[in-house]
Symmetry: C2
């Protein structure tokens, strides 16, 4: 049985590698034709997709999954239409492949071109979100990569139905059907096999909770690009425009509290805390945000009768993903920077200030993927960056940091033209 699984997964990876070599030189128009075919097939296959989804939902109810999880699993005709629309949007994005990134000629006359090319074979490991199957497949396809998808068991039948559509769209437009393959089992042993196939698979992107990502990072011999969630800070400087600080903080904390670029902690400069904190607290409380305050901020909040609870040490590095905000007062800019570099997750931080010198120092010294000045943390996002698509937000530093769009799904190669040069 285990040998069978190893053979099954290895054969999938070998076929993906072969398909990737074809895809790497496939013209844009042919890739786009496959995407448009898929966009057509999704609504046309609504019955089959909804029937497969119903099987997953039945199992979810039988397993007493909480209702918000069941909602995330659920496909509807409207959601299918949205999905088809997102496929059409990727089809019209520019093809990242083939762009010359740099070129130069050496004194000996060789000409060197650094050209963007697909990574090769990308493994996507994800949990129970039906849209991920299509989202990841189309971004890999557009960027010329073969994809191996391994989704969660809660959504297995839905994924299988989507994978069949992908195969059909590829085959009907003359692209290798193996360019997108789903691992047809959710057995953990199959995943373990996959993560060791480092001669066939070039990159693993896990999408899901921290335990999934950690499992993948610890067990993979293939390079992994991690998408951890974030512990993001907003620092209100002594020269902040208070109305702006309030607006940015409310947006960063409450617009979508469950995502990685939401703010989890507020730092306020001591010089303005007496004024700023009560105003910010009132606005946050009005939006239903609970404050977890350090001693200094708690005494100010208590004095004005603002709701809060004392913070525990764990709150200062916590990712709440909820309407909860840790609050601290810092004596100066440098302490704000040091606090962030120690306690944030390096995802996204914001400074609110009128003082450009302070802003530049903050942006230089804060060691995070995205550092905003007078803008919400919520802008760390591929669509907000104008990438047109996003496979995730990398919390790694190598290869891709921050939003990952089509360009970030590519690597490069060097193409050298000579006239017979040899090395002296």
């Amino acid at each position: 049985m285990s040998t069978d699984l190893v053979q099954l997964v290895t054969a999938i990876a070998q076929r993906a590698r072969a398909a990737s070599l074809v895809l790497a030189t496939t013209p844009t128009a042919r890739k786009d034709a496959a995407l448009l075919k898929l966009a057509e097939l999704i609504p046309a296959s609504a019955d089959a997709l909804l029937a497969a989804n119903a099987r997953d939902l039945e199992a979810a109810r039988a397993n007493n999954l909480p209702s918000h999880q069941i909602d995330r699993l659920t496909l509807t005709p409207a959601r299918l239409d949205q999905l088809a629309e997102s496929v059409r949007q990727v089809a019209v994005l520019p093809d990242p492949v083939g762009t010359t990134l740099e070129e130069w000629t050496r004194p000996n006359g060789i000409h060197i071109r650094k050209r963007r090319v697909p990574i090769g074979v990308i493994g996507i490991i994800y949990e129970a979100r039906p849209n991920v199957t299509i989202d990841c497949a189309i971004l890999c396809l557009k960027s010329g990569n073969a994809a191996i998808l391994r989704g969660g068991k809660e959504i297995f039948h839905t994924n299988t139905a989507f994978a069949a559509l992908l195969t059909q769209a590829l085959a009907e437009t003359g692209l290798p059907a193996d360019a997108v393959q789903l691992i047809p089992t959710t057995d953990r042993a199959a995943l373990n096999t996959l993560l060791k196939l480092d001669t066939l698979i070039h990159c693993i992107i896990p999408r899901g909770g921290e335990s999934l990502i950690r499992f993948v990072a610890e067990n993979s011999t293939i390079p992994v690009i991690k998408h951890y969630t974030g512990v993001c800070f907003v620092y209100v400087d002594k020269d902040a425009d208070l109305a702006m600080a309030e607006s940015i903080l409310i947006n960063a904390k409450t617009q979508r509290p469950g995502v990685c670029n939401t703010a989890e902690q507020l730092l306020v400069h001591a010089d303005v805390a007496e004024t700023a904190l009560p105003q910010l607290a009132a606005a946050l409380t009005a939006k239903g945000v609970q404050l977890r305050a350090d001693n200094d901020s708690a005494s100010i909040l208590a004095r004005v009768g603002a709701a809060h609870t004392p913070a525990t040490p764990a709150d200062f590095t916590a990712e709440f993903l909820d309407l909860i905000l840790a609050v601290r007062i810092v004596p100066d800019l440098e302490t704000a920077i040091a606090t962030i570099n120690r306690d944030s997750s390096g995802h996204t931080e914001a400074i609110v200030t009128r003082d450009e010198t302070a802003a530049r120092r903050f942006q230089d010294a804060v060691d995070s993927a995205v550092v905003t000045w007078n803008a919400s943390t919520r802008f760390n996002d591929g669509f907000e960056f104008g990438f047109g698509a996003e496979i995730g937000i990398s919390t790694d530093r190598l290869h891709a940091r921050g939003p990952m769009g089509l360009n970030e799904l590519c690597t490069y190669k060097y193409v050298i033209d000579g006239t017979g040069q040899v090395r002296g």
Copy 2:
């Protein structure tokens, strides 16, 4: 004991992380001053360095190391002068940190700048080469990264002496002394601890033999950039200039047979094999190269009385690192491409041809880091590329592919300027 080691290595990594935050915003002139101080200290400390090296050499002789290995371990006053000169050369290279890689303004007015910044803390794991300690330390320092060095036991005393100089150079020029640290033990357990410190160390670069690299890749939870050696191909097309093919092949195979960008295999187009192969074989044999021929090439070589031995299947994927060359005849360009994509290591391949269409197809379809047209494979090298320095040649696809210079020791961050924008 094991707990002590864990604490020791963790403390080193914590200090490195703190130093990296200082280095990230250290001006170029101050980094260069530390490098120039080091260049001054190396010859001035020759006695201490040579004495430390003598202890390693004594142990090497007692352990009966082969003479070429002992030679690699050996420092001389002339080698120290070369090393000091290489430090001065890095000091005058442009600082990669701070460069704006891209910038744009979004319709909502936020301005996004993608700025090159240091990776952070880099762990270098290497074997018995004394120059690696200085080479890697200075490239990390110039690019604003803190370095943790873990060298082989054969060169431990020499490394310790170099590390002391590095500390002195940093301290005397006011940079954090923890910016470069040597793990003061070659205990494998210390390495295992190091490779798991993924919250403090951001990148591991192993430099050494395949077994070392594999060990690191399999045991690290920190992203690894691998520098495997290469199985590089030269393809002589039917439209090749034969004199050029000979010159490129001789250079690629014999200029330095023990390195990763040396050619290990020759493919010849069947249409020209009868003419080309005898001429190429004669030139190679004259340089002492042994040919391992497939059936088709063996029969041509036999007919003209050229020395060769029959190839085994293993020869067609072998990295000889010696004056040995596998030889095969291919019926056409596409077979050459498919053969290379199956059997090469994806490092560097060359086509020799007068036919630009064939050359472009080869450069597009061959999935290797560097693909040359009418130029030697030996050009896959940071100095030959004009990078001014090289920490190695990456055989990975993520982050860096091919020669890694100072730019490749950096990542980027996004700096966003707003005027109060929030996400709608």
